[in-house]
Symmetry: C2
Subunit: 413 residues, 2 copies
Amino acid sequence: MSTTGFDYSKVFASNVPQPAARWTGFPRYNFVGGHNDPEAIPLDGLAKAAASALLREGKLLATYGLGQGALGYTGLREFIARKSSSHRGIEATPDDVLVTIGSMQGIDLVNRLLVEPGDTVIVESLSFHGALAKLRKIGATIIGAPLDEHGLRIDALETILRDLKGRGVRPKYIYTIPTIQNPTGSVLPLDRRHGLIALAREYGVPIFEDECYADLVWAGSAPPALYALDPAQVIHIGSFSKSLAPSLRLGFAIAPPDVLGRLVALRSDGPGALEQLVVAEYFTHHFDDHVQRLTIGLRAKLDTLVDALAREFGAAVEFNLPDGGIYLWVRLPEGVDVRRLIKPAAEAGVAFNPGPEWAVDPEAAASSLRLCFALPSHEAIREGIAAFARVSAEQTGIPARSANVAARTVAAQ
Amino acid sequence: MSTTGFDYSKVFASNVPQPAARWTGFPRYNFVGGHNDPEAIPLDGLAKAAASALLREGKLLATYGLGQGALGYTGLREFIARKSSSHRGIEATPDDVLVTIGSMQGIDLVNRLLVEPGDTVIVESLSFHGALAKLRKIGATIIGAPLDEHGLRIDALETILRDLKGRGVRPKYIYTIPTIQNPTGSVLPLDRRHGLIALAREYGVPIFEDECYADLVWAGSAPPALYALDPAQVIHIGSFSKSLAPSLRLGFAIAPPDVLGRLVALRSDGPGALEQLVVAEYFTHHFDDHVQRLTIGLRAKLDTLVDALAREFGAAVEFNLPDGGIYLWVRLPEGVDVRRLIKPAAEAGVAFNPGPEWAVDPEAAASSLRLCFALPSHEAIREGIAAFARVSAEQTGIPARSANVAARTVAAQ
């Protein structure tokens, strides 16, 4: 038999992507993505939870969906319902909860339920890269709704809705991250939440509320979820990626029965049962103390990041302190295009998320970047920001002085 | 604010499904689906594996993909590569392995890579319901390749390939379950494996090999996987659903780099990391003894099922004893349409998989049904088959006598 390779390109479907690049490891100073703090993973607690849950309910693993249907493990849905009530003001039963493969599956399913090519959606002008990428792939028309330091501007949203209505367009949803906005870190005040819901009702547009980060509020609590204020008008999603660990791939959706039952019908698979068992067991006993410990650690890392930026960049960077979460959204002076810094920064071991990827209008965020401070150690944060400042100074002349050393720009060398 | 509900139907995309039915629990005698034996779940072993893996590598959970890239947990890919070599003759490195969300994600991704509406695929005339359903949803033209008691008939396949070539059609793949065929339970002999590969090469058609059940061979070993015989021509998928537990949602794909890298690029999410850690840890130490214990138990349940069928149905049913796995494919006399038995059987607490759902030509399998014997206890198998025989006798007059009691058909009452 011949050992020559078969040419698969002869049978590829149209528009198949190029092969993914081979994995070459994380950069030394990794401010990218939504990773969490490795030191905050409760190793002992999870090991004990795994043992308890397995010995009590492990036989259920032999049946698809633990023999409990398509919504997910009952124990986890019970915890989600309880936590959503106590922490987010949401009145939901376990039957109103769908456990998803991260919150990303929730976004995928809601898009499949509501959004077709050419449909219009309203998204905060700065928003989650993954949500924007999915909508662009679908071919949706994305309208960016302006933000200020407290989140969505209700007056501006009203103008958008009125304008769309005047053109006969009903948007499929308003996608918002009201509680620790991604990337800006703001928490939408209660009066704006009421204003948002009133507008959504007036214009007959559902709200798609993404509360992935809502557990990580510095103040310990935030205004109630939008879903709590109007369950009929809101599809709510959340995640355990930020409150526990992103590699678990566990999220959830809470929605009216008419919606939830269709999200179930649309999906072909759910998350693994062992993770559901273990997370339910651990969080049923340790949610508040774990999240409190995690949040204290994250806030300390934010302090380190802010100090490092002040020391290295001085007045050359601007940011609003986030109300929680794992990101700092940083603006460099106008005229700097952070996309030009990606490669030289990578060569210096520094990775960051360029602002344009987090923006409905990429050019409007050309000078901004998102820094995730959860994964790197305090030392790596300090060293990484110093390295980034050197790269930035070389490439752009900004900062002009870094840690009291004047920049030598590439041009000046 | 009004509390009336929002009418989501105004914003639904076209062709959204009806809401999934609410879960009402398993039937009493459950011969449906691919569930496993609850008594064979290694509770202690998994609990210990969870503790070891978490304490050693749990911090990795803080990073997406355990900080190891998109293929999956390195430890699990190492185990899969080792096991595929020792048990299936496959020479693969961990970088040739993609860990998937069950084998179903493998099927989805391979379809997205290769199959578009109107494309032709060759599938064994009786095959996995899920694979058939996906292909029908895509709108592929499915050609059924005849089977006999040893699996795919190579002569018949050649006729199909020649005929298609004569019409200018190159099928996108030949989907086969060579080792414990689903639903028939056969193992394809080595000479047919070579014949299949020779045909695939001659006609330039990739083989899509599904080895979900290959770990559960009664004889302990089977001929090498097709992938082992010709890695360039075969895309290979497998699963931990049958060798361990279906609710884990862990499977894998092994494929040439050109294919594997594109499967990675096509998917938006992978399986949970905790399950990967735990299964790698457990199976690295206990694969052979676990699978041996599991298989012995399954074979005993098959014996109970075969005894019960003989007692209740006598000569009215036909089947070939499977070479392993969890299914028995049963033929009732021609003229019986098992679809008419679904409802009355359900009323008697008995659920089975109707043959037509496992067939490229549903009508040709109208008298067949698939019984999964892994989940029910020995007692439930006996009682369930007795209950099913009563239903069948009432509805069809077959069996005419059951456990020495003559049937009273519905018509005769």
